[in-house]
Amino acid sequence: MYRRTDEHEPQMDNKLALRIAIFGGVALALFVVLFFRLWLLQIVNGDEYLAEAKNNRTHEFRVSAPRGEILDRDGKILVSNRTSLALQVNLAKLPEEPRERRAELARLAELTHTTLPKLRRTIREELKVAAGAPVTLRRDVGSYLVYYLQENQDRFPGVTVQRVFVRRYPHGTLAAHILGNVGEVNEEQLKEPAYRRLEPGDAIGQDGVEYTYDRFLRGTAGIERVQVDAFGQPTRNGQLASQQPVPGDDLKLSIDAGVQEAGEAAMASIGLRGGFITMDVHTGEIIALGSYPTYEPSVFTRPMTQAQVDELVRDPILAPLTDRAIAGLYPTGSTFKPITAIAALESGNVTPGEVIYDPGQLVVGSQVFTNAGEAANGSVSLVSALEVSSDVFFYTLGLRMWDSGDLQRWAHALGIGRPTGIDLPGAAEGLLPSQHWRNQLFREGETERPWSAGDNVQLATGQGDLQTNPLQMAIAYAALGNGGTVVTPHVGLQVDDAAGRVLKEFAPSPRRHVRMDAGYRETILEGLHDAAQGGGGTSVEVFGSFPIPVAGKTGTAQRPPYEDQSWYGVLAPYPDPRIVTFVTMEEGGFGVEAAAPAARRILEAYFANQLAHDAKAEEGEG
């Protein structure tokens, strides 16, 4: 073999030996570096890295709690829940690189059958409401989309399909204005103490009883900690710990679904904008309350199109979201006369027996006030004045009290033009015109004349500057009906837990008691009864044939520039009323033509129910 000569050289080349030694030294140094680095990572800083590793692999998911159900007074479900698959995008998890981000959003737009600009606008708008929360692009997506996303998760980072609870309204529009709606908590609300435990993206009641009783209905979101892999996907058997969501409690309303339905149907059949209320005169429990036009509350459970938003919000005349029964601001016409009557009686400005001659008009200074239709009723007492709705009689009472403030004092005591304490948001305070109010305005230069007798003459018949609504009028009538108790109106009756145990009952104490003479009260009710069911009553053509005795008053309010507004207020049964019903319709003309028939249909529904209840009760006793 070659180079046999050097194969057993005892002395390796010195230079080579040096090189090998250096080689060995370098190798040693490199291993020292590796060992040192290993020791630094694992022994010295191991705790930090361990914490980081643990933090890495867990992800907390919020598990939303189902809201409590909302029931009517008999336990009929008005609002429940359904689960829905919501397509959400978490902006924080989108690619940072603008081009990739754009590409993903474009894919997403295609997936949701929209365009990129529209998608971006949706995201912007949602972010305005709740920055930082995942943006819900679509609700109720099909399961095919879920599978598609799962298979292509790497192409859609930050996009998830969440199972969420949304409200279900089995009766469509029924009681829409009472129920209100649920929406994501917004940034302003998050700062309020009532919502301090919530996070962006959580749902809260935004209107109606959903808003008022949100703290009972809401429940508590649960937390699920799961192990995730590097791509944020939960691992198999990766659940680490969870805090179960606590469902919200159920809310029982004082609403009677049957009566409510009758009221809404009556309003819809006439088709005029307006509102109605039926309330227990003793407790203030609202049995039915509605407004027309109404809307489908379910539209709020999914992202809305601009057209839908416009339809709900932009039309100031139709304004379907407005609850006219509590937020309307209208003059009441003759339905105000019972209030004028009690004020005049109690202040001594008239007696039950006094007869006033009604020639069809009253001249006050330079103003001439005429009866509606310019009819002359001749000599009328209080009872007959209510029966035939003599304006001149009440003009006279208004004139007598024009600067004493008696009419305002009584109207105010009965709740006109002041907060009612109702458990629904958005109720209007209204306006009770008074000497002080107008003179103040005059001093400030807001109006061209101070308070005059004519103002009070107008108010006495519910015309002029008066602004109130069916709710306030119902409270005032209820006080007349129950002997002077000004109730606190409410729709919330009780809160039950999921097992049906009563957690809380709502029976708000009355606002106040007004001392009124029983005889005066009976006189007024007699007049109202005659008006509804007496020979010459204004609404006898509607209520004359009604089997149950009632006490009701029509009203026709002048509300320029609109057509006259139609009103009807009724206490039933006469003479010991249990309920009061008020109906108003914008541009409905004479009260007897539009509002009274609607009121009758509500009463029919109520008493039909009552009869059924009574029959059941008797059976029970038997």
Partner: protein, 398 residues
């Protein structure tokens, strides 16, 4: 006979009755080297069994079954190679070199593409990556050229010639593209030249040239708009200086590997090794297997592995000094450098102090080509050792 060399004295083999061990040549092999190699491949199979169960759907044992087969085949190959006189490779240097260049070229035409690079031939049972075996072939051929040309031309001409010989296959591999392996080729070339006696001044020039080249490749070329490296290569090389949060980003991967290592602490996390089990660390069966070991078995496991490598390289360097001829010295030096470079770069990458270059960890990383090539290289080392021992006895066993 050199009976005076008492420091290497051991019982004279031929004084014993020739037994099976003697016939197999085992007494002439480096037992420490063999055991270290056996320990590493065995540990590799063990780690793959524990850490990659069920990674390939429908085939729970995919990685460790295959790795075990590669290990057995490789160990047999190592033994057979040990029994051949490595000096024959010197005569075959031109053929070896030609085969090397041809095989790494042919993948461009017949290789199958994986993740944007053509590196391997798809054989019936496994995909063969010629550039892995090429590492050993380069050592064998280059050492031959160095010995052969030792007296031809000036020192400078020789240096240029060696560089060109090493550069050609390195460039071909780089174009596959496989940056890591081409760097290994570079390290081998320099090591063989170093052991072969190329003057220090030449290394100084080469060192300066490398620094300039790196600067051009990483800084100047991208800046003037003619990048030499692919974008991902560039990112990998520079990202260890700036960790990132993006899972698809190289800096993120390296940061996750570092977290995995650190989280292992002294004794390791066992099956709770979430970093490597839940895909936070990518390529856990190949390039980042050291992170798996670090997390699962802690400092004790990782230090054990490093110790085996240190043992391996110590024995390789010892064989450099033992070799009966200069060819053996150069080959052993080249193999020692190949091992050292790969171990340092790979472990350094796992520990966050070296860039991501895609160099497998010898014997531990999953992969038939790498395991076979490394075991064959160790076989060559054994052969050098054996020839030296037999030379002492003055006869051949084969």
């Amino acid at each position: 006979m050199y009976a005076t060399r008492t420091r290497r004295a051991r019982p004279e083999p031929f004084a014993l009755r020739p037994g099976i061990a003697e016939r197999l040549g085992l007494p002439y092999m480096d037992a420490t080297l063999g055991l270290a190699a056996l320990g590493l491949v065995a540990f590799s199979v063990f780690v793959l069994e524990e850490a990659t169960q069920g990674d390939v759907p429908g085939s729970p044992g995919y990685f460790y079954d295959r790795q075990a087969i590669y290990a057995v085949v490789g160990l047999i190959g190592m033994y057979l190679l040990a029994r051949i006189d490595y000096s024959r490779f010197r005569e075959l240097r031109v053929g070896i070199y030609t085969f090397l260049c041809a095989s790494v070229t042919l993948v461009f035409f017949f290789g199958f593409a994986a993740r944007g690079s053509r590196r391997s031939f798809d054989l019936p049972f496994f995909s063969f990556q010629p550039s892995e075996l090429g590492k050993l072939l380069l050592v064998l051929a280059l050492a031959g050229f160095v010995i052969d040309g030792a007296r031809r031309g000036s020192a400078r001409q020789r240096t240029v010639r060696y560089l060109c010989l090493g550069f050609a296959p390195a460039a071909l591999v780089f174009l596959q593209p496989d940056l890591g392996t081409s760097l290994v080729y570079g390290a081998i070339t320099l090591a063989v030249m170093y052991v072969g006696g190329v003057p220090w001044t030449h290394f100084a020039v080469i060192g300066a040239a490398i620094v300039a080249l790196v600067a051009i490749v990483l800084v100047v070329a991208p800046a003037v708009g003619t990048p030499i490296l692919k974008e991902y290569q560039q990112q990998r090389l520079t990202s260890f200086t700036h960790p990132s949060e993006d899972p698809s980003d190289a800096g993120y991967q390296q940061n996750q590997a570092k977290i995995a290592e650190g989280a292992g602490q002294l004794t390791g996390r066992g099956d709770r090794a979430t970093q490597t089990r839940l895909d936070f660390v990518p390529e856990r069966h190949t390039d980042f297997i050291f992170a798996v070991i670090g997390e699962r078995y802690g400092f004790m496991g990782a230090a054990f592995v490093l110790s085996l490598y240190a043992l391996l390289i110590w024995r390789a360097l010892r064989i450099v000094t033992l070799s009966k001829n200069s060819y053996g010295t150069l080959v052993a030096g080249g193999i020692a450098a190949m091992l050292l470079f790969q171990v340092f770069v790979n472990v350094g990458m796992n520990l966050g102090i070296m860039p991501i270059t895609g160099i497998p960890l010898p014997l531990l990383s999953y992969g038939g080509s790498s395991v076979l090539a490394t075991l064959l290289a160790l076989g060559v080392l054994q052969s050098i050792h054996m020839q030296a021992r037999l030379g002492q006895r003055g006869r051949f066993a084969w």
